[in-house]
Symmetry: C2
Subunit: 251 residues, 2 copies
Amino acid sequence: MTDRVYTACLLIIGNEILSGRTQDANLPYLAKRLNELGIRLKEARVVADDEAAIVEAVNETRALYDYVFTTGGIGPTHDDITSGSVAKAFGTALERNAEAVRRLERHYPPGGLNEARLRMAEVPVGATLIDNPVSTAPGFRIGNVFVLAGVPRIMQAMFEGIAPGLVGGKPVMTRSVSCTLGEGVLAKGLGEIQARHQQVDIGSYPYYRVGGFGVSLVARGTDAGELAAVVDEIAALVTGLGATPQFDQTG
Amino acid sequence: MTDRVYTACLLIIGNEILSGRTQDANLPYLAKRLNELGIRLKEARVVADDEAAIVEAVNETRALYDYVFTTGGIGPTHDDITSGSVAKAFGTALERNAEAVRRLERHYPPGGLNEARLRMAEVPVGATLIDNPVSTAPGFRIGNVFVLAGVPRIMQAMFEGIAPGLVGGKPVMTRSVSCTLGEGVLAKGLGEIQARHQQVDIGSYPYYRVGGFGVSLVARGTDAGELAAVVDEIAALVTGLGATPQFDQTG
């Protein structure tokens, strides 16, 4: 466990997200799990099913972050172009992986493994398979890029298989306090608390709900003691401004 | 109405999205509305509350797309750094906008417009205000970049105010057909339909629900006649494979 900060980027690949048809559900899951593993999700991009766009996003982000995860585009249909695009980004070719073919042969009934499904056994030269315990067709890793399925249930199962092998730093913990004050009333004092605690990331998130408005003040960091100090200072700020701090269970 | 394709990118700015705390709800809304306006959302990025990251994302994307929309980070607290970062991306400074100050003065009770809230009246030199009919503090436009609030209700109200002024091409329409066949069974025929209709974008999206699995086949395009032809061909493919096509209302 070192103080080094490990970083990640998520590439959400798929026209169905960019058209508004499908709401991505993978980012929140990965963000929370990566935080627990001491890896910070620093950026995410939603990329179209377009080879040039995927190649550029993969190459730009794999140079910037420790880990790049992609979701989507590894199925058997014409719009599933992630594997070939990642191969191209790495300057390599797709090859039919013998182990992946064996797994697919066991999965489908006799005669079911047609040419389209065999495409799901193609991975870039030099890649290693990522197990898919839900529907068999594997993902893969090449370099620091992890290519996962888009369907959340499959993505999560793939991720949990690789999670024990991911190297991270100190887990990022979250504490939060909410109150019914306006952000503008809290801003000055909150900025002062942030200035005193540079290692903690303090966010202010207004909400509007049935029953009124308010603000959640969220502190994130790797040091439990400093997080507790920040929460105490925020609570004192809220109390000093005449309101009642609510201590939330999670951020 | 021309055949020119208008493009957009969305920059979702905020650590709360990257930590998994908050699920973005602005992308699906904007994607659908932009499609109706004949503007295609080609990319989205989730960017941290980090000046360098915002500057780079703004400058990279405003050169690539007709429109860039940002959401989040224009409130009164220390972590609201979108306006200053956008100013920096354009090589200009923030200035206190007199009209924005007047609006905020009318909005808050006497004495309520403190220094923190006055920050919400600061926009880059050369920017024009975007009205906020929900909570007053405006967004702004500079060049082809539109800076909107992150709270969905406010973002939507701001967007609807500017929507009539956005120039787009032909609206993108969606038709979809679902069935209970596996993607791998459909892939070959679907790819052939896609090859015959290059102006239509055909997506294949498997789903797993209570009651079974299936696949939604979604066609998007600007020509109603060609979309109808594609839907007919997909339905014939499904029927020919022994299943029953379900015609969905929307994509």
